[in-house]
Symmetry: C2
Subunit: 341 residues, 2 copies
Amino acid sequence: MSSSVQSVAERAGVSVSTVSRALRGVPGIAESTRKRVQKAAEELGYVASLSASRLATGRTRTVAVVVPLLSKWFFAEVIAAAGRVLSRAGYDVLLTELSTPELRSAFFAAPRLQGRSDGALVLALQLTPEELAALEAQGQVVALVGSERAGASSVCVEDRNGGRAATRHLINLGHERIAFLGIQEAPGSTLGGVPPAERLLGYRDALADAGITPDPGLEFGVGNTVDAGAAAMAKALTAAEPPTAVVAASDELAFGALATLRKAGLQVPGDFSVVGYDNHELAGSIGLTTMDHGVAEQGRLAAEALIATLEGAPAAVERLEPNLIVRGSTAPPRRLRTAVP
Amino acid sequence: MSSSVQSVAERAGVSVSTVSRALRGVPGIAESTRKRVQKAAEELGYVASLSASRLATGRTRTVAVVVPLLSKWFFAEVIAAAGRVLSRAGYDVLLTELSTPELRSAFFAAPRLQGRSDGALVLALQLTPEELAALEAQGQVVALVGSERAGASSVCVEDRNGGRAATRHLINLGHERIAFLGIQEAPGSTLGGVPPAERLLGYRDALADAGITPDPGLEFGVGNTVDAGAAAMAKALTAAEPPTAVVAASDELAFGALATLRKAGLQVPGDFSVVGYDNHELAGSIGLTTMDHGVAEQGRLAAEALIATLEGAPAAVERLEPNLIVRGSTAPPRRLRTAVP
DNA sequence: CGGATCTTTGCAAGCGCTTGCAAGAAGTCG
DNA sequence: CGACTTCTTGCAAGCGCTTGCAAAGATCCG
């Protein structure tokens, strides 16, 4: 169990350096010797000391995954996908949740990854240049998900196209009064986990494309929770000329919107259409039309990019195109449906 | 950056051992010396090498969190809560997802935690005695969530009481035909992440308490997903004498049930009552009556127990009592409601 | 068959920190 | 003021593995 290279060396009748090389598959060891060493190691139940080899090599074969909030489905899903890739490649996964501004600044103020990991996979946090520099100063190779920075690998989604596609879908169905529920961080928060308002811009693009004059009164910015979505939807319904459809910047907001609509006695999609964003695990069961942006794939790709960079490849940027998934929450507005039986 | 104790020692004009002790706050160093050393360290941007101190001490100050499936809300929530406690106590969190039987057996077959962590926090997996022994043989202190084993700390929920309370709530409202949607692992799966059917037993207890003869045709065992819940609910509705309420063994199943009921045109709670189990983050927004069993608290308590054990305390077992949270998905059955205006 | 060329192995010097032990400095007390 | 504590600090021996370099053996070829 706690046997050392020494003991294996003695048992196999070779030197420690031979044991080290044999067990790690370093070329330059006779196959017969290697076998003998492996046998001895096995008989002794030998397991190389991680700390010792890390100290000697300076590499940890560990990747830190840094995430703003673990309990959100999106992050859990990305981490899971990235984790599978990483552990298959032999990397350990160190988890760091930066759920408050204090934790965030403390994390970047001290060299908290130094000697702990070879690379960092940073999800969603919009890193300041200083923060990125801090990570690099700690010897971390960094890969980003959901943002882009010079010098780091990243995978991001063409959210503007996504917002546009979601909105265009509604426009194509005949909707003209379309609300937008956007994600906006609480004013005081410096967590900075929210990506720029690309989705909102896409929404405006689509309206412009269709020659619809945007109504600022139909754009809402709220926290990314079901309840916030419900509240915003309720407010939207009180407009002088209420919308007939809504684009939500996340499925969670959309779930809230659906709850409000149901409570208001409006049929979806009969009276009102809803399109979400994320393709949340529950979106399918609920029948929500939404934008899929390959959440698991983002994790996978980012992990692969990070591993590649760790093994010497240059940093790479990957852009994912979101995809509209039409389910049962969207349909032509009632006005048109009665006209066209 | 990559300065060593040496350089700090020289700069402060002391020996390396003094630096080591000064920086770690070991008693027996004059306050003035400590100050001087700290200053030197700071000026040099010195950060102690983790691998080196781990090698020297034999402790990693890392805890492995082992979980069957990361992307389920329950696990993410537990991990998040545990992670906060652990990192506040200065422990790193190493994440291991055992999402398939192959990964599980590979994990326990090799000493994968040896030298990587001091302890393991194992969620939901019902460890075999051999698996637990394997972890202990690797020098891990282990704490369990959702199961109980001799020699390990654990926190678990009185699920039988929970099932009973959920069911009793419906009985008190006047329901008599009550279905149960239970969680059952796929037959081939050896993942073993599912706790024993305590909740089902509680359901039967409650029926027995009320003198209702249980109808095996109303008990369903399915995978723990929204869709499975929806399907099972659909089947339940086709019974010769259909139920008027259902107890679901998880909120996810309950979400599925709600979807089916809505699709079937049944009003909840007017025509049908549903009670879930978990108090899932979305349960509140959806208005689901459910059993809360302090998910985050389980993580917190388990992490605290693990830390305590790592610091020498004996293993401890904590039992949580689940709590009924009444929301809008339960009401007296229609028969009664019309009788009692 | 002898020297040149590979191959295979061992030596020893790290990697950077911790810690038991002992020595020197300082303080205490009768 | 000297013997005895009590504090502080340094020495040096690890912790267990990796790796550059050189030596020893094996192989090859004219």
